[in-house]
């Protein structure tokens, strides 16, 4: 390929460039938050395609009972890598990437507080990804113990291959990267806000990134230490998680889910943030109950660290422990519900423009509520005993992570693409992408609820031909293919729009947050002049001086 990244359009206004274009070097050597942000997005899209192909192979294998399209070993490697990739190398870095790009713009800053640390975070993700995928080249193949790496299966002698070791090392690297970007975001948000941009006025996306960052710096160390112990077990023969040598198989689960459950909120909170930006703009109304959307985020963040054992109801911790955790888990439904209702209330009485971002945001509400409700159901211990480790769970968390996070991610891409590149994305292709996604997604995952309660366990490379299992799995597989097609449309849309998309003004959606005051794409220094901030919607105040959001706010500029 040419030395120029495909993302750089050959138009006169160079993409966030360091003056003249020196090809790859300006990117590799860059410490500019916008370029690093874009590199995050590119790399995650690459990983998204890889993880998607892994999923597709699995669905093909499951299309019919007793198929032998791929061997059990390969299948296990595929679902391990699919989970790991999608969580650690797609959703997380994408949301962090958007944060890296948008947070400084939204708070009217020149850059992140620590630009070089920012670059380090990004390159550590790349490094971690390479480290993990390298394990495919080892003769025994990639890790095959599941992304949860339950001990003792992930320990010697049950996994003698090198995969799990590469896996733990790679995830340690990405863990360090996440902590670094978490720290970077916190300091940036707390200290780099433009005058007038008080903590009570920062956009909700920034709020969510702030809470997410706190989660990152406090829960990543949990899994980092667990990985360290796992590596010591595997490499130096330590005995943390090997019952045969006096270790404990359950301790790993506590450590893993102690990280793993907050991780779920790390994956969804920034998505909430994107939705909370998109819905108001396209409803032409301010977010309904800013305080409660932001406050409930803090509540979710705090609750999320105390409920991990609901992943362990079948382990036998005792009824008392199970009930307490069940209760704490159900509580999270309350702040989450508040959020959803506030989004609906924001749309209510608005004048809604259903451009592609808004389509995805609207669909997000329904798909996410679907996943959230099944989530409340499985917080109930006995129900969890029925459905845990069955396809019901697969359906549940795909509704949360695809119907939730990925839908929000798509909404965000369509919403901010003009800002990223200076060009609009094609609405026609966007609508195609949207409908294919909705149809493919629900086709793939809705039937899996039934497969689950009918007794189909997760992580099985094949299944007996029980009544309706074959047909339901076939529907699911066809849906997966449609979903794959939708992603192709999306990538095609990005390509076309980069080259021939129609030029975007600085504020094509007539949005209200500061990033839209910068040029599209923003100059290296972001703002020539940061507009005065006297409320939560600075650009609204500029456009409607007659009815500012906070009429009697003190003016500071």
């Amino acid at each position: 390929m040419s030395s120029r990244l495909p993302l750089v359009p050959e138009n006169t206004e160079p993409l966030p460039s360091l003056k003249e274009n020196q090809g790859m070097l300006t990117w590799v050597a860059s410490v500019d938050h916008k370029q690093i942000g874009l590199m995050y997005l590119i790399i995650t899209m690459v990983f998204f395609v890889v993880g998607g192909l892994e999923a597709l192979l699995m669905r093909i294998q499951l299309a019919q009972p007793e198929m032998s399209f791929i061997s059990p070993e390969v299948y296990n490697q595929l679902f391990t890598m699919h989970g790991t990739t999608m969580i650690f190398f797609v959703v997380m870095p994408f949301l962090i990437g958007v944060g890296v790009y948008m947070v400084p713009l939204m708070i009217g800053a020149r850059d992140m507080a620590f630009p070089r640390l920012n670059a380090l975070s990004f390159w550590l993700i790349v490094f971690g990804g390479i480290l993990i995928y390298y394990s495919f080249l080892t003769q025994s193949g990639a890790p095959d113990m599941g992304w949860f790496a339950y001990s003792p299966l992930s320990e010697k002698p049950f996994s003698l291959n090198k995969g799990p070791t590469y896996w733990a090392l790679g995830l340690l690297a990405t863990g360090i990267s996440s902590v670094a970007s978490g720290l970077n975001n916190i300091v940036t948000i707390l200290t780099m806000r433009t005058p007038g941009m008080s903590m009570r006025r920062i956009p909700l996306f920034v709020w969510m990134i702030l809470v997410t960052s706190f989660l990152l710096i406090f829960v990543i160390p949990i899994i980092a230490s667990a990985f360290a112990m796992m590596l010591l077990d595997r490499l130096l023969g330590a005995a943390f998680f090997t019952p045969a040598h006096g270790g404990s198989a359950i301790l790993w689960q506590h450590f893993f889910w102690g990280f793993g459950h907050p991780e779920v909120y790390i994956l969804i909170l920034p998505a909430f943030g994107i939705i909370s930006e998109v819905i108001p703009v396209f409803s032409r109304k301010p977010i309904f109950g800013y305080e409660f959307v932001a406050g409930s985020t803090v509540a979710i963040g705090l609750l999320s660290v105390g409920v991990w054992a609901h992943h362990m109801f079948a382990v036998g911790l005792g009824d008392v422990a199970n009930l307490y955790f069940s209760f704490a888990s159900m509580l999270i439904a309350i702040p989450t519900g508040v959020k959803v209702l506030n989004w609906v209330a924001t749309m209510w009485g608005g004048k809604i423009i259903f451009a592609t971002p808004m389509l995805f945001a609207t669909a997000f509400i329904i798909e996410f509520v679907m996943g959230g409700l099944t989530g409340v159901a499985i917080a109930s211990v006995p129900i969890d005993w029925v459905v845990t480790d069955s396809y019901f769970i697969v359906a549940h968390f795909h509704y949360v992570l695809y119907g939730g996070s990925m839908f929000a991610i798509f909404a965000g891409v369509y919403y901010w693409f003009p800002k990223f590149t200076g060009r609009m994305m094609s609405e026609t292709l966007g609508k195609w992408h949207f409908w294919l996604t909705v149809i493919g997604f629900n086709m793939t995952f809705f039937v899996q609820h039934f497969l689950g309660v009918m007794g189909m366990p997760r992580r099985t490379y094949t299944y007996h031909d029980f009544p309706y299992w074959g047909s339901m799995n076939l529907i699911s597989t066809i849906g997966a293919i449609v979903l794959a097609a939708s992603v192709l449309v999306f990538i095609w849309n990005v390509q076309v729009s980069l080259r021939r998309g129609k030029k975007a003004s600085n504020n094509p959606w007539h949005a209200w947050t500061l990033e839209w005051a910068a040029s599209s794409p923003p100059a290296v220094h972001n703002f020539d002049l940061v507009p005065p901030v006297r409320g939560r919607r600075p650009l609204w105040d500029l456009a409607h001086p007659e009815q500012p959001d906070e009429p009697n706010a003190k003016v500071i500029d």
């Binding site: 059990p72 003792p152 299966l153 004048k351 809604i352 409700l373 006995p382």
Partner: protein, 312 residues
């Protein structure tokens, strides 16, 4: 129309309680979902911006009362769900109260070892129980974490090494209930199946009697040849056959193999032909299984099959 399995066919008091709770919860959640979906669709129809309309809508920043209302409603729903949960717990998972286990279920990669404590019967993958009688099982694992799950009979329970769990097993009606390992346990997790065979008290007693008899080892003919091969080849390093020197516990106990309906934890039905195929190359039917391909000649396979069939 064929009968749906799992939750749709609860076959024990526990599972009925579970199904009940699940249906209540699903009902509640479906109502909530319906409300949200309706609201969203109403909005889509009612509040779409017409191209002509240049006015911004009324800027509404929120309402404290509404927020309070829709914070309290979820609280109430959660309270209801939690009470339902508490009520169902005991019904689904009766307390052990210091009973001695009637049977011990031990997970292996990738098969189930079943030991009846009272009668001393040892078998694999096919759990015979008297219908309508509660059997207390202690669930253990010898290698990695497994999970014992028979969808139509009740809850899942993990088989964790070094952490025995207890589970009451009961089937309302006689019949065959299929289950599988539900916790990912390695290459052949998919083929670690359970079949619970619930039968009348008498049939169960009869079966137990058959299982404890020590079959005479055939001395002559093809079967006798097979017996010798079983001892000389590596078979006896992993398997047990009562009344012979073979007493290893790595693989299933084969003493009464021909009383079982399947081989390889459910990969093949137990017929001489299938046994023949299996012995010729287990890896073909259960790739990654710990039973290696012994590279037996067809004649040897014939002999061993004859031997295993002869064990009565």
């Amino acid at each position: 129309m064929e009968k749906l399995g799992g939750l749709f066919n609860p076959s024990s008091p526990e599972m009925e309680a579970l199904a009940g709770l699940t249906y209540y919860t699903i009902a509640i959640t479906v109502v909530i979902l319906a409300i949200i979906v309706f609201a969203v669709f109403y909005i889509i129809v009612r509040y779409r911006k017409s191209p002509a309309d240049k006015e911004e809508p009324y800027q509404n920043f929120g309402s404290l009362n509404l927020e309070i209302v829709w914070t309290l409603i979820p609280c109430a729903i959660v309270a209801v769900l939690f009470l339902l949960t508490c009520n169902t717990m005991k019904a689904v998972d009766p307390p052990v109260d210091g009973h001695e286990p009637d049977l011990i279920i031990i997970g292996h990669q990738w098969w189930w070892e079943l030991r009846y404590t009272k009668s001393g019967v040892i078998t694999a993958n096919e759990l015979h129980i008297p219908a309508g009688k509660y059997m207390l099982a202690r669930v253990e694992s010898i290698d990695v974490i497994h999970d014992f799950w028979v969808p139509e009979l009740g809850r899942k329970i993990d088989a964790v090494p070094g952490h025995p769990n207890y589970l009451w097993i009961v089937a309302g009606q006689p019949g065959i209930y299929l289950g599988a390992c539900a916790e990912f346990c390695g290459a052949q997790h998919a083929n670690m199946r359970i079949r619970v065979i619930a039968e009348s008290e008498e049939e169960f007693k009869e079966w137990e009697k058959q299982e404890i008899v020590i079959p005479p080892t055939p001395r002559s003919g093809l079967a006798g040849e097979g017996a010798r091969l079983f001892q000389n080849k590596a078979c006896m390093n992993c398997h047990t056959i009562l009344g012979t020197a073979a007493a290893a516990r790595v693989g299933p106990n084969l003493t009464h193999l021909n009383n079982r309906q399947t081989i390889g934890a459910g990969v093949l039905t137990n017929t001489p032909e299938n046994l023949n195929k299996w012995l010729t190359n287990p890896q073909k039917y259960k790739q990654g299984s710990l039973m290696p391909n012994m590279k037996l000649s067809p004649a040897e396979v014939e002999a061993i099959v004859a031997y295993l069939e002869a064990l009565k």
